[in-house]
């Protein structure tokens, strides 16, 4: 990789970081809230994409999200654990659950794993409703506003979490894990014969994915101050986790981020134009993407748009 290319990535990255750091100083509370929920979605989408790199399609990220959310909320309520510590605890508990779930289900291939993950998230809702004494049941759990309601601090916290998630993805891409994940995704049987313990690496990917998803859940519960099972274990969250990277571009760092920006914009636009409009956004986008741009926005950019600006005959 030449130095000119390195410049081409560091410069925009620097401008982007400066913009993100100064963002709370230039916008009002409403946009700050939008930014926080967008960054939350970016973390969820990036986390889902980490597992997807091993070829596994999780449709139950809401289960891990909800576990993180409930863990940190309940730890606060029962043991007055500080919120940020609670979020980390939520992340670790979600990771522990992913190890258990992963070893049970990641031996299954393809669609069977996906189905199990849906069942996992749905089962959690039922378990939560059946154990109101421990979990708060349908009434949910409430916590005081995060940082006393200081949105700016909340913004920086979730931004830091996103930075950590992106850094981890970057590390994966630069390490031997990238080879293992890609090999497993492309041909698990061959990967095994070449010395890759596919179950181990799939579980590892699931753990990393669960950690950030659980943290995001913990953040959500404190930021939102109130959680109920129907919301945090909702299939809608699981769907968002997969639609965003598919829309933005799979197995990339930028895909989930660009995907989120566009989807959130479309969602917000539809919300204000007609009632419940935002609820059709994900379905509509998923259908359009799968039909017309299977490699997502980044694929469209690289394959169709970028070549338009290049001289003929060069690649």
């Amino acid at each position: 990789m030449g130095s000119s290319i390195r410049w081409k990535t560091t410069l925009p990255l620097g401008i982007l970081s400066a913009f993100l750091l100064l963002f709370p100083k230039i916008v009002g509370s409403y946009f700050l809230h939008l930014a926080v929920s967008a960054i939350l979605a970016m973390i969820l989408a990036s986390s889902w994409d980490i597992l997807a790199r091993t070829g596994q399609v999780s449709v139950g990220q809401a289960g891990l999200f909800g576990i993180g959310a409930y863990a940190s909320a309940l730890l606060y309520r029962k043991f007055s654990m500080p919120p940020v510590l609670g979020m980390l605890a939520g992340a670790l508990i979600a990771t522990a659950v992913s190890i258990f779930l992963g070893y049970l289900t990641l031996r299954l291939r393809g669609i069977y794993f996906s189905i199990t993950t849906i069942a996992f998230a749905e089962a959690l809702t039922v378990i939560w409703l059946m154990t109101p004494d421990i979990t708060g049941g349908a009434m949910g759990v409430s916590t005081p506003p995060l940082f006393g309601g200081d949105r700016e601090k909340a913004y920086y916290l979730i931004l830091a979490a996103l930075a950590a998630a992106v850094a981890v993805v970057r590390l994966i891409e630069k390490s031997r894990l990238n080879f293992a994940f890609t090999a497993i995704r492309e041909n698990e049987e061959v990967a095994n014969v070449l010395g890759i313990n596919s179950t181990k690496y799939k579980v590892l990917a699931f753990m990393i994915s669960a950690f950030f998803t659980g943290f995001a859940g913990g953040f959500y519960s404190h930021y939102n101050t109130y959680i109920i099972p129907y919301e945090v274990f909702n299939l809608g969250i699981s769907i968002a986790c997969l639609v965003i990277p598919i829309f933005g571009g799979l197995y990339t760092i930028a895909g989930p981020i660009i995907g989120t920006v566009l989807i959130k914009t479309i969602e917000e636009y539809l919300r204000v134009t007609f009632s419940y409009g935002h609820q059709i956004a994900y379905g509509l986008i998923l259908v359009l993407v799968v039909l017309f741009m299977p490699e997502g926005l980044l694929g469209l950019w690289r394959g169709k748009i970028l070549p338009l600006f290049r001289p003929h005959g060069t690649r």
Binding site: A180, A183, N192
Partner: protein
């Protein structure tokens, strides 16, 4: 006929290996051995159980009974990745390079994971590049498999199998579908590998290859071993002629597929 027990310890010792798929017996009571630095061919008509034997040795299937020992240590029933790290590299009959990886990345992958002790990314990359050159892909490191010709795809498979530094290399029909010139190149490559110290068990349909490079030939038919010995003796075995070579002669000595 010679006994399977060789005086010194064989690198690969297969003992009474049996594998059923439902009612079908794909391998029945198969025993043979491969000595260090030997080139042994596994031949037989389609459905004879050759690839099944490969799948059993490399751990893709678990045997119903029997034992497989590599350097004296039993590997029967181990997971494929463990067997690979113990020193078995293989190619696939239907070429399966990872399509979204370049030739070099394909080879790096097995260099990274197929070896014990583990090597660094840098070492893996260096060795992979060297292996690519060895098999004749030195100028195609950055190419994607789908842009390669059939022989080059096979080379990628061989380089990928070699990258695990196998004690035993299993080559599944690496010569089929090649032109005569390409076949000659492939034969030279296999001989070069042996010279470099590899032990090779290969499945082959191209008789020219089998006769030309094998120290010994093992003939399978309906999952059973029906003959074994030096190539010249095996071709004269009436059982072999009946099961396999007889057909070839009728087809004017072409390569049976």
């Amino acid at each position: 006929m010679r006994k399977d027990e060789s005086p010194k310890m064989a690198l690969l010792q297969v003992d009474r290996l049996t594998k059923h798929f439902g009612g079908l017996t794909a391998a029945h009571d198969v025993s043979f051995h491969v000595d260090s630095r030997e080139i042994v061919s596994l031949i037989g008509p389609n459905g004879a159980g050759k690839t099944t034997i490969f799948n059993l040795i490399s751990g893709v299937y678990r045997p119903n009974s029997g034992d497989i020992r590599l350097g004296g240590e039993s590997i029967a029933g181990l997971r494929p990745y463990d067997i690979c790290r113990k020193g078995v590299g293989r190619t696939f009959q239907i070429m399966q390079p990872f399509p979204k990886m370049t030739v070099l990345e394909n080879v790096v992958t097995s260099a990274l994971f197929g070896r014990t002790p583990k090597v660094s990314m840098k070492t893996a990359e260096g060795e992979a590049a060297e292996l690519c050159r060895l098999v004749g892909l030195g100028d195609k490191l950055k190419a994607y498999p789908k842009s390669l010709t059939v022989p080059d795809q096979k080379r990628t498979e061989i380089a990928r199998a070699l990258a695990v530094r196998p004690k035993l290399l299993l080559l599944d029909e690496v010569m089929s579908g090649l032109t005569p010139t390409e076949t000659d190149e492939a034969i030279r490559l296999v001989l070069k590998l042996r010279e470099a110290g590899s032990t090779i068990l290969l499945i082959e349909h191209v008789m020219k290859v089998v006769m030309g490079i094998s120290d010994r030939v093992i003939v399978l038919h309906h999952g059973e071993k029906i003959s074994e010995g030096p190539p010249s003796r095996v071709v004269d075995d009436p059982k072999v002629i009946e099961a396999y070579l007889g057909k070839l002669v009728n087809e004017e000595g072409g390569t049976a597929c």
